[in-house]
Assembly symmetry: C2
Homo-oligomer: 238 residues x 2
DNA sequence: CGCAAGAATGCTGTATGCAGGATGACAGGA
DNA sequence: TCCTGTCATCCTGCATACAGCATTCTTGCG
């Protein structure tokens, strides 16, 4: 999902001086079957309903989803490019298993992207944008207090995505989002024990403070530490 | 093309002590129609035979390539996920145009990845690996001397890809490769005047030296400077 | 003469059919 | 008992067919 550069930028364009309403009108987003299928299958994989290493039976899955093989196959090719599945000639699509090494590598890339985003965000994010990230963080804290795992986790992901967006670099944000979605399952099962959350919450708090102070170096350092800790938290579930 | 994590790692495993030949045997690579089409269409776009903003006529292109619409459409979905084309509901595939902003954003991400790769490479690359990158650089210098543009350009790309590989992080290398291929066309037309090469060549020389000295900070700095210069070189062709 | 509504054409999106290769079972032989 | 070769079945890969929507041309009206 590295696409949609222009589309995403449009949402971030806040200044509309001298621009007609027509120009900033977003096309009605018709949910196509393609998008629907890609989303559904991606969720099936991320949520673990399609096990790693398992082959995807086109006829079966197509029937289950109520579509013919053609659009289903097209969706599978799309997901293959994202790296979620692997296309084996003559044997179809296989759900890719993330090795510990893969996860480690991806976290390193994520760290590179997030620290870069952090430095950019410290420079160019508006106070309002930073405040909205702070609100997101506070929400997350609320769910942490009540141990509401799924909602806590969602805010956590949204926080990191939001930080990437604040960089003002839409391509960076899109790339970050793609990697984060691939790591979602691993990170979710890795956050099973609420006592593991404490460290992450503290790091998030520090990140918000650094961002509010626009202290780029400190923010980058915290992020690096945060992802290193994520690696440790996640390691034993693989 | 963020896929192929495991596959790419295999190539880098050089030590084969106590390992049977069977274990390191690479499966016969059957070039599927899918791969063939993806490669061909990608090249058509990157080389400019399919103009930006232009719609891709499935019947037409299919006939030109000698395949039916089904595998062609599947290849298009694949490329859409890479971001080369955009899928417009009811109107098919459109070649995406890179705005200056897109290019700038992508170069920033490329810089983040390459500097990260550089630091890793300084730590873990073997002397032999560094030497082979030096050879690649020397080859490039040869083509620079004779102003052999295409070959020069290819070595240039290979050099950066090689640096990413030396990081030992296969995912980073794959991500880097994906971005670099999308920028290939713009960088190629941006290198039309040989007098522009001089700076790039000098920077490459400095990069090799820094890598040989395993001076991570210096290497990262040169890379950042190099990509900043790339942005300037490329700007006026857009 | 310009514009708009409608029809015709062409293209995309989806379903289905068919051929070739993969998978698994089973029998015969070492 | 285990291995190997053969056969049946199933599934994938590709082609083709058809329905519905976009686009464009044409025609009628202002």
């Amino acid at each position: 999902m590295l696409g949609g550069l222009a589309a995403e930028r449009r949402d971030m364009d806040v200044s509309n001086e001298g621009v007609s309403v027509l120009d900033q009108m977003v096309p009605v987003s018709r949910r196509t079957l393609h998008d629907e299928l890609v989303g559904r299958i991606r969720d099936l994989i991320i949520e673990g309903h399609l096990a790693p290493e398992s082959r995807i039976h086109e006829g079966q899955l197509g029937q289950a989803l109520g579509v013919s093989r053609t659009p289903l196959r097209e969706a599978l090719k799309f997901l293959a490019s994202e790296g979620l599945i692997e296309l084996v000639p003559g044997r179809g699509a296989v759900v890719r298993r993330l090795t510990p090494r893969d996860v480690r590598d991806m976290l390193d890339v994520l760290a590179a992207l997030e620290t870069t985003a952090a430095r950019l965000a410290c420079r160019r994010a508006s106070d309002a944008e930073i405040a909205s990230l702070r609100r997101l963080h506070d929400e997350m804290m609320g769910y942490y207090a009540t141990r509401t795992r799924l909602e806590y986790f969602k805010r956590n992901q949204a926080f990191h995505a939001g930080l990437a967006t604040l960089s003002g670099n839409a391509f960076l944000a899109a790339t970050h989002e793609g990697i984060q979605s691939r790591l979602r399952r691993i990170r979710f099962v890795g956050s099973d024990a609420p006592d593991k959350w404490a460290g992450a919450v503290a790091e998030h708090e520090e990140m918000v403070q650094a961002l509010e102070a626009r202290d780029a170096d400190r923010l980058a350092a915290v992020i690096a530490r945060h992802l290193e800790a994520t690696w440790i938290r996640v390691q034993d579930v693989m």
